[in-house]
Symmetry: none
Subunit: 198 residues, 4 copies
């Protein structure tokens, strides 16, 4: 579009040496998945996003599946780290409830794009057994984080609750009451021994 008076390097400066290319392609792929979904991710789109020629795609990756798997794996690891970091300063049960509430309301460093990619991973894992290890590792890590503060059963409940509430929040169009979320979560983190609580 912009006029280029000199004839030579038409649109892309030659970049024969580019050590981080592989990594940049993976990053670009995550972005493309966020925007177009796994199904809409093509070599062409990723190549354009990473500003590399098309041939680089299959040079650095066995194929599109390989690239997608690597991108989703990196994303999952990144999400797990965010999750962990989000709970790093939790001390009391009330801290935990607050942290979970924040997480559901989008204050955990993960935006809607991140969740969209995560759901893409879930769906892909549903059909591709190779991706199951990625989702399982992630789920195990999430539970592990929660189990620092509550027992295993409660951790599973809270983890499921987070999953469902976030999904409904992402899919809903209207606003959601933070107070209500707080109350819902508070019930889930009560000590297992019901009798003791009453």
């Amino acid at each position: 579009m912009t006029a280029e008076p000199t004839a030579e390097p038409l649109d892309r400066p030659v970049r024969r040496h580019d050590p981080d290319r592989r990594q940049r392609i993976v990053e670009a792929a995550i972005g493309v998945i966020a925007e177009h979904g796994v199904a809409g991710t093509t070599h062409r789109l990723v190549a354009a996003a990473a500003d590399v020629p098309l041939g680089s795609m299959t040079y650095h990756f066995t194929g599109l599946d390989d690239l997608l798997a690597q991108a989703l794996t990196v994303h999952a690891e990144r999400m797990a780290v965010k999750y962990q970091a989000h709970f790093a300063h939790v001390r009391t049960t009330e801290d935990l409830v607050e942290a979970v509430t924040d997480l559901v309301h989008g204050h955990a460093g993960a935006d809607e794009r991140d969740w969209a990619v995560s759901y893409e991973l879930y769906l892909a894992a549903l059909r591709d057994p190779a991706l199951r290890t990625v989702t399982e590792t992630w789920m195990r890590r999430s539970r592990g984080v929660l189990e620092q503060f509550v027992d295993a059963a409660t951790a599973r409940g809270v983890d499921g609750l987070i999953e469902g509430l976030v999904m409904h929040e992402v899919l809903s169009t209207g606003p959601v009451s933070r107070t209500e979320t707080h109350e819902i979560i508070a019930r889930a983190v009560r000590p297992t021994t019901e009798g003791a609580a009453q």
Copy 2:
């Protein structure tokens, strides 16, 4: 090669008058989505599954998107009906806890295929605003069912919990303790006042 003068073509009986064809195509589409995902659904696959000629696809539907939207809508309505039916006989709070536990553990008339299609719908709705009305209607109906037994906030919590637990169940490879699920759900359905009372 040799002419066959007798009778009709063997493999596909001529279907001169076929009033349910449209509906049959939609059913076939749901099946194809379950098996191949929305991304893997093509006119050809659906036509083969419904045993109709390829030309029928764009004759009865404006395009693939149209067909997919109709199939996902039918599926969502069907799931909502199952959901409603599953809670039809609930009377007490304990009934409710049992019903939700059953639902999470796959005894609600919905199998993994159904959930797979549902997740396909979620993901599609994430990118296609036209499908949001479908998911919203479904969510509203689910909450409505639960609100017959508990207050709105609790309903939202239970609904989210169901969503998350089912998703984790579908994605997990190991078995899940039913007793644990029961306990988790029991906490979520306690009347709101109790939580506030402490």
Copy 3:
């Protein structure tokens, strides 16, 4: 290249109805194989030769292999017919020797292109078992034709001799003596019972 004052049908007249297309593609494929070899045969080349759009290739044939197999099969059948016709008027042993000599010297209705395609078929059959049936049928028919005039062993010898002499003729750059060929063949068609001949 030629100026077209009217805006509409740019370069290819629309040809929506074209009943013999399949057949025309096969013919074109044979021509392309003759010119570029099996290895050099591409969908694009054949489509251009048949004057059909690229999409027609995989609409009418499962894939390139399918097309190649069909083209080679048609060629083999055609060659067998030529072979048979070439010996139709043979009555005496001398007729036979003359006919074979003619065949080796290129007067059997088959030109170098035909032989080139045949060798392509041989080589393809060497690697693709599915094509073996084609070459075997052809060989059986050739022998059958010769066995009308001589015993089976002699037929095998003459058939082999034809094969080798034609191949060397096709590969050689210099001229070959017809008298010599005649003499070589005459020996091969002598009656099997050596004692009787002397």
Copy 4:
């Protein structure tokens, strides 16, 4: 990921001084041609077979055509040597008939792989004039060997017969009678004068 300070890279021993590399690549190329055909031979396959880096290919050869030509030339020379050696001990006419029969029945030190490569060469020569010199030299040498025992015309006949019988043997799936082959060849090697005498 973790740095390995000790020793050398494990999988490919560093080959600092490697004077036979060129030759090894040519050998590897012959093997790849035998297995995948000329059309299926790629730089990558040959490099892997020779266990040399991809860059070696175009470093040692001007291009793939160059490599193929050299490989086919080496193969032809090798075949000619085998041919010559196979007839080294022939003294009488009966020796010759026996030797040729052995050759057709696969006892000449050349297996089916060798013939496959030879046919690849023939076909390549059909389209590439540069390879014609290779096939012509080979043919001239074969005839020369036979002309040690019989006159030129007979040599041409026997050479053609060998070519054809071997090709049919390679392409056929059933067994072939050795006695029959012997008889066929015996007729071809009779002195020319006999044929003329009748």
